[in-house]
Homo-oligomer: 551 residues x 2
């Protein structure tokens, strides 16, 4: 089965023709940019987010056709189904209600016949009370000392969003708390953190929706042994954020607190739930976490209610599909011109690549177009001095440039070459999309810039919690809209299961070998067996000395 | 002009046919892996680096044809030309002698008729003496206090390699020195570092080959004003690493020391020169820096002398071209199963994308095949919980998996599910390439794994300076060999110039506006003018309220 609903749309076929026309020299971006009022026509401004897609390879016809697809695919209706609690996650028969976690509306959200807003509000109140009691010194460690270090134990969606927000708001962290992330099972991660903290003043937050994640379980075990070795009571120093009813939601296991998340919140969409709420409220204070939620809520309302032609995440999703399926760009760069946003690219990398890295529709039909892009990025101007050579003269890829009008350190007005650092940063932010789009002729082929490389520019006013919440919710809504265009399920991730099963089999063999050094590895696959032996012999054993490819 | 030398080779044409055959079901990786002695035939072991390409989509014929290209393109002769000082950087008429910076051989290296080894050794001796005097307390700050923080001011190649090595060897840093990187011109980077250091105990290292980099100049200016404001003498707290004869190589400008690099060392290949040598010797001690150099030297000798069929970086380069031009993968992941190697992907991202992100040959002919890949990566297992969904079930891309046999914290033997954290890490390292290669049938299309996704696995023994030096030199040599296959110049980067020119024009307008608030921006491009106004008015001004794409 294919995905005919999408590709048999008349708009889809017409867009194919538009894409061919777009490759003609007359439609080079430098010519499109000569269009009168190009920016006015191809930009939107809502809820503090300015979205400029004037440097995308689109024109009015392309946009009209894309908007036609948006209507035929009922994108906004589907988004409303999602926010109102329908089980849009079909394969797992679940709702996807990350938007409810930042709702301050009085309206009910009904999931499985029950209004979930009371439990959402209860969790928020628990987080508020708990973080305030830690900050006031009412809750301390088992030796009576206040908490100074908070270690988040969690991997993937259990930390990437929180790391993004914490890094973006780092300059507001005035609670005397340092935040650490223990994600990788690599023992050097635990070892590195253990050497930088004091057990008496450290609070460990174990975050796992299922509470079955092997890496997180191993790191929790390390943390508990570390506390015991240092005479610290884990029941006073460790708390859990987990799905209601998971193996971690067990009051008989010692814990300072258990905060719930719910089946209807996916890991990569969970930063506005207790997953982000507990660590961010400890790091920044609950009030700032709530401001962050309110920024996200505003963008959710925009994503839900703005008409298609003025809906920023919806438009961004349509352009992403255009770039992906019609202009055939396999990758997309995210380049924030603010180092505080340095963890946005890895967060969006997970959000987008895990949500849209699929080959089948919601209903199990094999897709006949590729979906999902490779997402990568570094802050500008750093990226200019790293991989922009390829962006300008090698393989083209679309870019999201992100600008922040006010830096945090806005009082610093020292100038070089007549401009402040922040102005220098912006001179580059303004120049790069133009250089990529316009290119430059040169008789020397080594100095020729082909141009015609598309980008969007997003501008937020500042590094406030509200702005960061809006930016997060923009990318979440964009990702969901992309998935709805393709008809895929952005909320499952079956593609990570096979590797887990295979690792589990290897783990069992290692455990047997640990118990019995004479155990012979029984893996039928000789390559896996070789690596098992390498690990246990602690060196690569001499192998056949022949040259590669020869007997 | 095209690049007929390469694509008219008989091997190139035969490889096209091989690539078509490789897409047949009988050549699915799961079938190739059933070949007897697959690993023995498709792996190499040299100088502490094990390179397993058994999970690449290659067979004996493909390998033989690729090796035929290596010979016809005279890859090893070209590499020897490079290491012996010939001006292989044709467009800039320069040598490329990063290998000399880690040579401990008594042989001369002649560049422009002069043996450069004495100046290389002189710099090394200067670094040794200087770093030891800092560590012994003979050299202190201007108030007599020892240095505790070292801030590297530099961008792109002036810090990415150093950041990789410093992060990889972080557990050996026993000199009481914290290393910071001030790369981005973003004022929040300077502001953040300034809030974490004491001016009296901070040493600033300004690194710029040309000493004309705008970002570095602006940050140096910030640092000098910061010192002056705090009553600290910059002549005792700031040193420079720069090209001999650059504007920074000026003894009249106050500096504690000036260390030279040379025209024949490219920024992205400079970590074994004073660029890496000064900060790494301060952070780790000179002896460890020298061990790192010796590890790199061993790999250089291998890259230079090993026959094609046993030459690891050369083979890796051939496979990269095969993946790029014949199997049409546009991107490559680098996934080290060691968080200490977390800065390897961004370093290789620059090294590879800036070196190979080209569209013309050394001699100015336009390439008729794409070259260069998009490089990205995160440590495993983190990446599994982030973007591996797409790797398994979405767009395929080749991956370099990297394993480390001994972690730094090897004494930690706490187990979970019967295995140590390090064993859990390896269970995943072993499982992922197999899962990607083999895939799995499933009646449910959502749980079907197509497999046939290629990868290499590289194994190093430990996180020692020697191993890290070898790994660095492997990727450098691989990148150079790739460029030599394509016939491009890996040592220039004209693609970054256009953006700089455009930013410079914008900077001038900003400077005028700073002097005269009534200055009207004269940029003929209305989009750039809009952003200039946004920056100076400190908000996005209301624009035409029409819907996107409509008048």
């Amino acid at each position: 089965m294919q995905n005919p609903n999408l590709t048999s749309l008349s708009e889809w076929k017409e867009l194919k023709a538009q894409a061919r026309a777009m490759s003609l020299p007359k439609n080079h971006l430098r010519n499109l940019l000569n269009q009168k009022d190009r920016l006015e026509k191809f930009s939107l401004n809502a809820e503090g987010l300015f979205f400029d897609f004037s440097r995308q390879r689109v024109n009015e016809q392309v946009l009209a056709l894309l908007l036609g697809i948006a209507k035929k695919r009922k994108l906004r209706q589907n988004f409303n189904k999602m926010t109102s609690g329908k089980h849009v996650n079909l394969t797992e028969d679940r709702a996807a209600l990350h938007t409810a976690t930042r709702s301050f509306s009085k309206e009910s959200v009904i999931e499985n016949g029950k209004n979930i807003m009371p439990e959402i509000i209860r969790i928020r109140e628990q987080i508020k009370k708990f973080s305030r009691e830690v900050h006031s010194g009412k809750i301390t460690g088992s030796t009576g000392l206040p908490f100074k270090d908070v270690v988040v134990i969690g991997i993937g969606g259990s930390y990437l969003g929180t790391e993004f927000v914490a890094t973006a708001l780092q300059f507001l962290a005035d609670k005397g708390i340092t935040l650490h992330f223990l994600s990788n099972v690599d023992i050097d991660c635990f070892g590195g953190i253990a050497s930088r903290i004091l057990p008496e003043t450290t609070l460990w937050i174990v975050i796992s929706k299922s509470y079955t994640t092997a890496e997180t379980a191993a790191n929790e075990n390390q943390a508990i042994q570390f506390m015991k070795k240092n005479g610290i009571d884990p029941a006073r120093h460790l708390l859990r954020v987990t799905s209601q009813g998971s193996p971690g939601d067990d009051p008989s296991k010692p814990a300072l607190r258990i905060f719930h998340m719910f089946d209807y919140i996916g890991g990569r969409f969970s930063v506005t739930s207790a997953v982000g709420g507990v660590p961010l409220s400890l790091y920044l204070g609950y009030d700032r976490f709530e401001r962050f939620l309110r920024g996200a809520e505003k963008m959710d309302i925009h994503a839900k209610t703005a008409p298609e032609s003025r809906n920023i995440p919806l438009l961004a999703a349509l352009i992403s599909v255009w770039n992906n399926n019609f202009l055939h760009y396999p990758a997309q760069g995210i380049i924030p011109y603010s180092s505080a946003l340095s963890k946005l690219p890895p967060h969006i990398q997970q959000l987008a690549m895990e949500s849209c890295g699929k080959s089948v529709t919601q209903t199990g039909e094999i897709l006949n177009v590729p979906c999902g892009s490779i997402i990568f990025g570094e802050p500008g101007t750093n990226a200019q001095h790293s991989f922009f050579q390829l962006a300008h003269q090698g393989r083209p890829f679309p870019i999201d440039f992100i600008g922040v009008i006010h830096p945090h350190h806005r009082e610093n007005l020292i100038t070089s070459k007549g401009v402040t650092n922040h102005q220098e940063l912006w001179a580059n932010l303004i120049a790069q999309p133009q250089a990529l789009a316009r290119g430059r002729e040169d008789k020397n082929p080594a100095k020729f810039f082909p141009g015609n490389r598309p980008s969007s520019t997003l501008v937020i006013p500042d590094l406030s919690p509200e702005s960061i919440g809006g930016l997060l919710a923009f990318y979440e809504a964009k990702t969901v809209y992309e998935a709805f265009i393709w008809g895929i399920n952005p909320f499952d991730q079956y593609g990570v299961e096979l590797g887990k099963v295979m690792a589990s089999h290897l783990r069992e063999q290692m455990a047997q070998k640990n118990k019995d050094p004479d155990h012979l590895f029984e893996d039928p696959d000789p390559i896996s067996r070789f690596y098992l032996e390498t690990l246990f012999k602690k060196s690569v054993q001499p192998r056949s000395r022949s040259s590669a490819g020869k007997q």
